[in-house]
């Protein structure tokens, strides 16, 4: 009976996908940097995921959902025509710059002070794409490099260089803030 098929499918989808709601929402918050945009994107993501659930072959649900969320968010990026970021505004150029430039100033002596979550979130929000996305997927959503590559549709090598770049930029911004605070 088609009604039952649909219900069973919905139930399987619910069990497979809803446990990752916080993960998907977290990524959406960092990608869109706006709570209500993130909610809309996550809802759309789950609608699309259900629509394509028949073709889902597992095993990793999380990167699959993230890939769908990215597609939803990309439309949003296009609409917004790139909101400026504080640290880096041109991802293309940033990817070509040597990654250790910012940390040359006596890095041995620097010890990062613990910051509250809100302050760190702001620093992450200020990272340019695609570095912010890669950083969040690794550091906050705990994806492996291979899973990140799968979710963002890029080679693992690209993921690695973006992650290195993201962390270098984040640490530079972090230490710069601490310098100012002194």
């Amino acid at each position: 009976m088609p009604v039952n098929d649909d219900l069973q499918k919905a139930q399987r989808f619910r069990e497979a996908a809803l446990p990752y709601l916080d993960d998907v929402y977290t990524l959406a918050r960092y990608l869109l940097r706006d709570a209500s945009d993130a909610e809309d994107a996550v809802q759309e993501c789950y609608l699309r995921a259900l629509k394509h659930f028949d073709s889902y072959r597992g095993p990793a649900m999380k990167p699959w959902l993230f890939a769908i969320l990215r597609n939803v968010c990309n439309a949003e990026y296009a609409r917004r025509a790139h909101r400026p970021s504080a640290i880096e505004d041109t991802p293309g150029a940033a990817e070509q710059t040597p990654i250790w430039q910012e940390s040359e100033a006596s890095p041995e002596t620097e010890v990062l002070r613990s910051r509250d979550a809100g302050a760190i979130r702001k620093l992450i929000d200020a990272l340019a794409e695609p570095f912010r996305e890669t950083f969040v997927l690794r550091e906050i959503n705990n994806l492996s490099y291979r899973e990140i590559a799968e979710a963002v549709g890029a080679p693992v090598g690209t993921v690695m260089s973006r992650l290195a770049r993201a962390r270098a930029m984040l640490r530079a911004a972090w230490t710069a803030e601490e310098e100012q605070a002194k």
Partner: protein, 255 residues
């Protein structure tokens, strides 16, 4: 290994992503290169601080509810007046649907009020001469089969005569333009109509009494059914009726 390569691979080392061979290569470079060693130490420190901080967000409950409500079976059964009263289908495919618990039926307040007023109107109609019962019997084994074929599945018919509420019969009624079963009881000379409809929500909802046009209506949900008990008896007596009905239902289910 160049410093360029090391500055990228040291992160893979931090993240435990390197195979043993590459890990040794990176460690060897770090051991011989103070700059890369400093960067490695700094990044490890930052990773430690980040790991100690909760940087995740929690999805708002309203978002979760929105997603639940937008799943397709929720769309088919829009949580609106159309689906509130779907007749009886216990034991059929629809009860499998209800048992799966996948459809949360959430009535908006105005819908609940509108249904309540229809229930009270139906109660009023039933009090007019000749409208109270379609089948007259104090025997639950006569009343219950009478519903068969008129509704998908008969509503629960329980004789509560011993508990002070006399079963007098059953009736087909219409609420929200749908057929619905009404089981009729009497307490002294007062009529109690028990309206029962199937619901996709299997959650237990505790009984609540509301008053409309001078009638008390006690509404609750259990076992995939919505119940409305309507009467002009006092609220405490109506609550007693509901308690006894539920107790007998429970005994039936467990017995």
């Amino acid at each position: 290994m160049t410093c360029d390569e090391a500055r990228i691979l040291l992160h893979a080392l931090l993240d435990n992503e390197l195979d043993a061979g590459h890990a040794r290569d990176v460690e060897a470079h770090i051991a011989s290169c103070p700059d890369c060693a400093a960067e490695f130490a700094a990044q490890r420190e930052m990773q430690r601080v980040l790991a100690d901080t909760n940087l995740r967000y929690t999805a708002p409950a309203s978002l979760r509810a929105r997603i639940e409500a937008s799943l397709p079976q929720a769309q088919r059964q829009q949580p609106s007046r159309r689906s509130v009263l779907r007749g009886f289908a216990m034991g059929s495919a629809v009860s499998a649907l209800a048992a799966s618990g996948v459809v949360a039926l959430v009535l908006r307040q105005d819908d609940q009020q509108r249904i309540l007023s229809e229930v009270v109107s139906a109660h009023l109609r039933s009090l007019q001469a000749g409208h109270l019962t379609d089948v007259v019997s104090t025997d639950q084994h006569t009343v219950k089969p009478w519903f068969n074929g008129k509704l998908d599945v008969a509503p629960p018919v329980i004789d509560l005569t011993a508990q002070g509420f006399t079963l007098v019969g059953g009736r087909l009624d219409y609420i929200d333009a749908r057929a619905i079963g009404a089981v009729v009881y009497k307490r002294r000379q007062h009529v109690v109509n028990l309206f029962v409809s199937q619901t996709s929500n299997t959650e237990y909802r505790t009984p609540k009494t509301e008053t409309m046009q001078g009638f008390n209506c006690r509404r609750w949900s259990n076992r995939g059914l919505n119940f409305w008990a309507v009467s002009d008896i006092g609220a405490d007596e109506l609550a007693e009726f509901v308690d006894k009905f539920e107790a007998a239902m429970k005994a039936n289910v467990e017995g």
